[in-house]
Symmetry: C2
Subunit: 186 residues, 2 copies
DNA sequence: ACAATCATGTAAGGGGTTACATGATTTG
DNA sequence: CAAATCATGTAACCCCTTACATGATTGT
């Protein structure tokens, strides 16, 4: 990821923006954010505790969020909220026209790209890719009912994720058929 | 990217594997590899000079490749080749069944996910995503004639890339239509 | 002569993951 | 009472990008 990725107008890191958005969504704690990310944005934007907790502190220092202690019994717990500045920063980002970052790293495709070095493994590589995406499809379908009643944004990204994944699988199936029908095409 | 990403059997980093593959493809220098990556694997696996040159040295130290000086006139130039160990490592990786890494970071989708926070920007966000992918489609189409005569692997990844990108664009067009027809769906 | 291309590299810094550590509370 | 869940955090490490620096050669 580019280091100059901090948004020029909001001065937050990419994951910082995820946190701002999640707080706008009514998420409360670092734990809460992490759970929700894992069941929603994970397929196009992941986040780990090691990123979330330090970032929450940075955002508070920057005055974009405020946290207050709200222990559940004896269990410590910090509940965060957007400040006015934080909401402004979120809106600025959402309205910005700087080209949005897009980054893909797909080792399956890399193997396929080099498959002429070891052609007898090509079909197996494609099968592996297909299975991976079939699993992903199942995971996306699992969160579908939960998203169906919510706001349009999450519904749309889920729909898009399903479409792309299905497209991927369809291509694999077709390619597997082509290789099976004509094993000599090398 | 996971730190434990170094392949258990080949002991190379992801980009190290790209380099091994590129050398098997007959690429010669760091510069040559970089040029080719930019016109082939870039859409699913990028690499920068800051990664390539140090990695070439590491791979040579590991005995997977050998370099010899082959200056063009007074211009220094190091030409690399796979060793037998290097080719073995490449084959081991291509034949490995460990689940291939897949990582996506799409800021456009992230904006769409949070678009209920600023619904009046939603259509614009989708338009932005579409334009980005239309540009990518053009770039992929530009390398198509160049790949058409080559080996199957690169042809397949290009085809897959085109398919996915087209799928993305189609979804955007459809979503834009839906929003235009019914601006109240929010 | 100038620009584009060939060619190699380094330093600083960003963003991220994993693994580990700790402990309270709820549920079966 | 044990297991799962809620909850917070840190340290080590990795991978990668950008920006910078340098210089020769080729094409116009």
């Amino acid at each position: 990821m580019p280091p100059q990725d901090r948004h020029p107008e909001t001065e937050t890191s990419p994951t910082g923006r995820v946190i701002l958005g999640m707080l706008a969504f009514g998420k409360t704690t670092g734990y809460d954010i992490k759970q929700f990310v894992d069941s929603s944005t994970r397929h196009f934007w992941a986040a780990s505790y090691g990123q979330i907790y330090p970032e929450l502190k940075r955002l508070e220092e920057a005055g974009l969020i405020t946290g207050r202690e709200e222990p559940t019994g004896g269990r410590p717990r910090t509940v965060y909220e957007l400040t006015d500045d934080g909401r402004r920063a979120l809106h600025t980002w959402l309205a910005s026209t700087t080209p949005p970052l897009y980054e893909l790293r797909d080792e399956g495709m890399l193997k396929l790209f080099f498959s002429d070095t070891l052609p007898e493994r090509r079909a197996e590589n494609i099968r592996q890719m297909r299975e991976r995406h079939e699993l992903k499809l199942q995971q996306l379908k699992a969160i579908q009912p939960h998203a169906a009643t919510g706001p349009l944004g999450p519904r749309m990204t889920l729909e898009l994720g399903l479409g792309i994944t299905q497209c991927f699988i369809d291509w694999c199936v077709q390619a597997e058929r082509r290789l099976a029908n004509d094993p000599e095409i090398n």
